[in-house]
């Protein structure tokens, strides 16, 4: 949707993780493409499929023209049959291939829940590891331009709850490439969720193949006063909030979870031991999501570090509205994070 792109141009400030550095940079979308390109090049078992992966948009640029390079045998369009297509990908993975199943929105994955939850997630355990399912499912969380409730969902919380799945959510171009490489190399089903407003953001992205490991969160910005654990686009919002807070004399430590399953508890708990205050800035509804899981872990293992109760900044528990006025009210962002931090700092 070009209108979404224009809106993002207007409303999402540019983000360059390596601002001012004269290094090779790619956008998040370009980084995803490079990861897939390099995987396709190196491993003949890898293939990419999805609705519109070979169209002029190339899945927001992330698959652009790869079908021309590798042929329609390896990069191909699929029918609107998510259940059969993901089931087919699973069967092909059983038979030795390494599929990357690409979906425009996580919302559409609901058509394939049997195959994701009952089949892919179970196959390794059910058969004692005899038949791995090296499947990557990519989907881009939507936002804005009245996309409304069926095109804006961030559903990773559902998958975090299902043992057997890994859940990956890069927030930067560097991590997008490295984590996609790791996801394709992983022998398990990986749910790889992107976010539409991240696509134009830039980072240093090395040209060579590199893997970002799962289960390693990263401190994007150190600070002593409060820990902000962010997910996906909320990491960027947290970094922006940290700038504002710094001007007010508050040093926020921003951690990027990067992978939700497996999750790096240690980095979070170490940070909490230092700051004693926690905000989880989640890209999802508040109830029953990943942020709730983080708080549970913190209550179990980091209780003594807490100076104040932890806070979740997340979507309100409602479907996403279309009207831009309501959309604006719906989405948490920098002001909400700043407000939450100030709340923790006072008293």
């Amino acid at each position: 949707m070009p209108w979404t792109k224009l809106q993002i141009e207007r409303e999402e400030p540019a983000f360059d993780e390596n601002e001012g550095q004269n290094v090779r940079k790619l956008s998040y979308g370009e980084a995803l493409r490079e990861a897939l390109d390099q995987a396709l090049e190196r491993d003949p078992r890898v293939y990419a499929m999805g609705q519109g992966v070979d169209d002029p948009g190339g899945m927001f640029g992330s698959t652009l023209d790869l079908h021309k390079k590798y042929g329609s045998g390896r990069v191909f369009d699929t029918p609107l049959s998510e259940e059969a297509m993901i089931g087919m990908a699973i069967g092909s993975a059983m038979a030795g291939l390494r599929p990357v199943s690409i979906h425009n929105r996580p919302d559409f994955l609901m058509m394939a829940m049997d195959q994701i939850v009952n089949e892919a997630a179970k196959w390794s355990y059910m058969f004692a590891g005899q038949v791995p399912i090296p499947l990557v499912i990519r989907a881009c969380i939507g936002r804005g331009w009245g996309s409304a409730s069926q095109h804006s969902q961030a559903l990773q919380g559902l998958f975090v709850h299902v043992p057997g799945l890994k859940v990956v959510m890069p927030s930067t171009a560097y991590d997008a490439k490295g984590l996609l490489i790791s996801s394709i190399a992983d022998n398990n089903p990986v749910m790889f969720f992107e976010q539409r407003w991240l696509y134009k953001h830039k980072s240093y992205v090395p040209e060579h193949v590199y893997a970002v490991p799962f289960g390693e969160a990263v401190v994007k910005r150190p600070g002593k006063d409060v820990t902000i654990l962010g997910v996906s686009h909320m990491v960027i919002e947290a970094l922006r909030a940290a700038d504002e807070l710094a001007a007010k004399g508050i040093q926020a430590e921003v951690i990027d979870a990067r992978t939700l399953i497996p999750f790096d508890e240690q980095t979070l708990l170490s940070s909490l031991a230092k700051t004693g205050r926690l905000i989880v800035a989640d890209l999802a509804w508040k109830t029953g999501g990943f942020a709730a899981e983080v708080l549970a872990k913190v209550a179990e293992k980091g209780f003594d570090s807490l100076k104040k109760p932890p806070v979740r900044v997340a979507f309100p528990d409602i479907p996403t509205p279309a009207s831009f006025v309501l959309e604006e009210a719906f989405y948490p962002g920098v002001p909400d994070i700043v407000r939450a931090v100030e709340g923790l700092m006072n008293g």
Partner: protein, 330 residues
């Protein structure tokens, strides 16, 4: 009375006897499971293939080791007909560490990778796209192998069945769809679930060559499956066989079908349930394919194998509790 038409093209005696061995093995295994089930040592739901054995045998006899088979909860016949390990299957029913799924799967989740049986799903229709995927992989890798998808009549009510056929047709994938229509989904008769359009016609809707086969007649299954698989193997795309069968027992466990209240009234009479094994034995003896004493000997050997498999299962160790979380990831 032998209800099997003697085929025009003679099949080798070797194949005929191979089919009998597989058929008799499945029958005896299922009966033995039924007999011992009340001992409460096989702590897993069992969906017996009694009555439906001929379909698995008539199809799998044509398959090479490398050809994939995908199956469902009623998978014992497919597993054994494909050459799956009997001891490993039995140990799995006893939920032992030596089971084919190391006790993690149970009866509904058998696997034998060595014969290209890559696991069965107990979600009705769930494994149909897996077969399509394996067929896709074979095509992708230019391998001379095909996939067979076994499923029941209720699976033809799932949307994924139609999605899978459409795509298999579009890509000309080497997959054979085999629907074992026993007309019942647990207690629910097919007339309560579907419009009365022959299931084979669903395949035809996608221009997939499809036929209805008497699944109680091993020789008919053999012949039609041979035709179907030749088509699939030649690269012409998928084929669809709807095999009409009779489920002798309840959906799960045992049960005398003559006393099942859910059965249609016109089914509850002596002689309704046909016996594919007895009929095939009649075919072999009337065609003088095997001497009665040799047949008897074969049966003795098979029964001894089955007893040994039960013994193996009973004596095998259970999984260790410490290993509870093993295998979550590969």
């Amino acid at each position: 009375m032998c209800r099997i038409k003697i085929m025009n093209n003679p099949i080798s005696r070797e194949i005929l006897l191979d089919m009998y061995r597989r058929l008799y093995l499945i029958r005896q295994v299922e009966l033995a499971i039924e007999e011992r089930y009340h001992e409460d040592e096989m702590k897993t739901p069992v969906h017996l293939a009694l009555g439906q054995e001929a379909v698995a045998v008539g199809v799998c006899i044509h398959l090479a080791r490398e050809d994939y088979v995908f199956s469902n909860h009623r998978s014992h016949a497919h597993y054994l007909a494909k050459g799956g390990d009997l001891k490993a299957m039995m140990a799995e029913l006893y939920c032992k560490e030596t089971g084919c799924s190391h006790g993690r799967g149970g009866s509904m989740h058998l696997i034998d990778v060595s014969v290209s049986h890559l696991g069965s799903s107990s979600i009705v229709g769930g494994s149909i796209p897996h077969a399509v995927g394996a067929a896709f992989a074979a095509q992708y890798k230019s391998e001379d192998r095909l996939a067979v998808s076994f499923f029941g009549d209720a699976a033809s009510e799932q949307g994924v069945f139609y999605e899978s056929m459409a795509w298999a047709k579009m890509k000309r994938l080497p997959v054979l769809f085999v629907c074992e229509n026993n007309e019942y989904s647990v207690c629910s008769h097919i007339t309560a679930r579907q419009p009365m359009i022959p299931i084979a016609q669903r395949g035809q809707a996608f221009d997939i060559p499809s036929e209805t086969v008497d699944g109680m007649n091993l020789m008919e299954v053999y012949e039609r499956a041979q035709q179907a698989l030749n088509h699939v193997r030649s690269g012409q795309g998928p084929y669809f066989l709807e095999c009409r069968v009779q489920r002798w027992r309840r959906h799960a466990g045992s049960g005398d079908p003559m006393r099942e209240k859910y059965r249609q009234p016109d089914e509850l009479h002596e002689g309704f349930f046909r016996d594919p094994v007895k009929d095939y034995e009649g075919y072999l003896s009337s065609g003088k394919m095997i001497k009665p004493e040799d047949l008897k000997q074969m049966q003795i050997e098979i029964n001894a194998r089955i007893d040994a498999a039960f013994q193996y299962a009973k004596e095998s160790p259970l999984p260790k509790k410490e290993d509870l979380e093993k295998y979550l990831y590969s």
